[in-house]
């Protein structure tokens, strides 16, 4: 645990609920993330992790719940407020979602030009710097179809970082990657954590996550069942279901750091 008093709360999510048809995919999920903190969502597939993350930046509109960024409530029905909020929240998707018609450089530049209204030169300089930061200096002219999965995910991280996000949401960033490509993406995420980036990440990579996370949240059937430091959650979880899940995951997926 870090010292409490001086911590600045970056993101607060209160009782977010999302229903599809009659099924509640996310039920009254709440969480708060302080500056520099890394929270990791674990739990079985279909448990609501991805929907919760997408509710946080309103890519999926929650049915109920409130969200604050740096103490200010997000009024998502006001478009301007919503667009400004999303600029400050970086989103990393499982399947990258790079813009297929743009080069790596174009992918990072486009929001700087169209949303931030930066000049061409400033946008280019910033985009090159971000791509350099994720180790892709030599690939900036390549199109997504010419990049490996790991490189694509690193471009998407650079694209998010270029917007100077206050918090990053990572939705199973390595689930679509071959095992040998996972490492390069993990290295980038680890470096971000070391630089103090505030993050909320859903993942099945328990080994990696347990070294990175300040806190882990076990989510099943749309409910955040249990929350705690990685060591506690993985080894001495309160609920039998959490223990069972963690035991299986650590056994099945092994270590990828």
């Amino acid at each position: 645990m870090r010292a409490m008093g001086e911590q600045k709360e970056v993101l607060k999510v209160e009782k977010v609920t999302k229903k599809y048809a009659s099924k509640e995919v996310v039920k009254e999920a709440s969480l708060a993330v302080n500056e520099g903190e890394i929270k990791v969502l674990i739990g079985p597939s279909g448990g609501g992790k991805s929907t919760l993350l997408q509710c946080i930046n309103f890519l999926v509109t929650p049915d109920k719940g409130r969200i604050w960024l740096e103490g200010k409530e997000v009024l998502h029905s006001q478009k301007k407020n919503l667009y400004e909020y999303r600029q400050k929240v970086g989103m990393i998707f499982q399947d990258f979602n790079l813009f297929d018609h743009l080069t790596a450089l174009g992918n990072v530049e486009i929001a700087l030009l169209k949303v931030r209204k930066m000049t061409k030169k400033d946008a280019r300089d910033r985009a090159v710097a971000e791509l350099e930061r994720v180790g892709l200096r030599d690939h900036i002219r390549k199109y997504p179809a010419q990049l490996s999965g790991g490189q694509k995910q690193r471009v998407s991280i650079a694209r998010a970082l270029a917007m100077d996000p206050k918090v990053m949401l990572l939705d199973e960033p390595t689930s679509a990657l071959d095992p040998e490509l996972i490492t390069e993406v993990h290295a980038v995420i680890k470096a971000l954590g070391a630089e103090g980036m505030t993050m909320v990440m859903a993942t099945h990579q328990i080994g990696f996550a347990s070294h990175l996370a300040d806190e882990m949240l076990f989510m099943e059937d749309g409910i955040i069942v249990e929350t705690g430091a990685p060591a506690k959650l993985l080894l001495q979880a309160e609920y039998a279901r959490t223990r069972e899940f963690c035991a299986k995951l650590t056994g099945r997926y092994g270590e990828t750091r």
């Binding site: 909020y85 970086g90 979602n97 010419q146």
Partner: protein, 222 residues
């Protein structure tokens, strides 16, 4: 045979001038259809229910009524009624363009729907408004995918443009008809008109093929 060749030779400059009119008709109609077609497609995919219903009716109307009926309806009926005094050429461009927009909207709609959902999500996640996301992310990709279908539409509009002769527009068909009915050389003249259309089809589809190749996103399999 020599008689035919002479007939063709005599009429050729006159017919070729007509091919410029045909080209102008097609370029005008395709351009009008492009602009309206894109708006229709975006409205049909992303618009609220009442916009979708309205645009669907538009598409239904212009795909459902025969070209000749629409030409007469607009030129002799509607434009006269409203008191707009426009040339037969302009009327033909407008009607061909409106009809083409209905067909083009479906080509573009197919292009938009074939994009992965994540493209729009990623754009929104960066703080783009839907308008910006559609203009800078969705359409550049959807329109690329639409070129083969658009090339099809071009060849159809090109052939449909011959019906403008019914309004007295001096395009290829009208000129062939005019000369043939004076000289009674029907076979060589309509044959030549047909060849001119074939050549225009070839040139247009070839040009679009080159465009498609130029705009191809590197890294994708053919």
């Amino acid at each position: 045979m020599l008689e035919y060749l002479t007939a063709i030779g005599d009429a050729l400059p006159y017919l070729l001038q007509g091919s410029l009119v045909t080209i102008a008709l097609v370029v005008g109609a395709m351009a009008l259809g492009l602009v309206i077609g894109i708006l229709l497609a975006v409205g049909l995919v992303y618009g609220p229910p009442y916009i979708r219903a309205l645009f669907s009716m538009y598409v239904w109307f212009f795909r459902g009524v025969p070209l000749l009926v629409l030409l007469f309806l607009f030129y002799f009926g509607l434009f006269t009624l409203v008191g707009i005094n426009i040339s037969a050429f302009t009327a033909a461009v407008i009607v061909l363009g409106l009809i083409s927009s209905a067909y083009q909207s479906q080509i573009f709609r197919g292009g938009i729907l074939s994009l992965p959902e994540g493209q729009l999500k990623a754009a929104r996640a960066l703080g783009m408004s839907d308008g910006k996301a559609i203009c800078s992310i969705v359409l550049p990709q959807a329109l690329r995918l639409s070129i083969p279908g658009w090339s099809n539409e071009y060849s159809i509009v090109l052939k449909d443009s011959a019906i403008a002769y019914a309004l007295g527009v001096a395009e290829v068909m009208a000129r062939a008809h005019f000369v043939a009915s004076r000289t009674y050389q029907h076979l060589p003249l309509y044959f030549t008109a047909g060849v001119i259309f074939l050549i225009l089809t070839y040139m247009g589809t070839k040009a679009l093929r080159v465009l498609e190749e130029r705009l191809r996103i590197p890294g994708y399999m053919r």
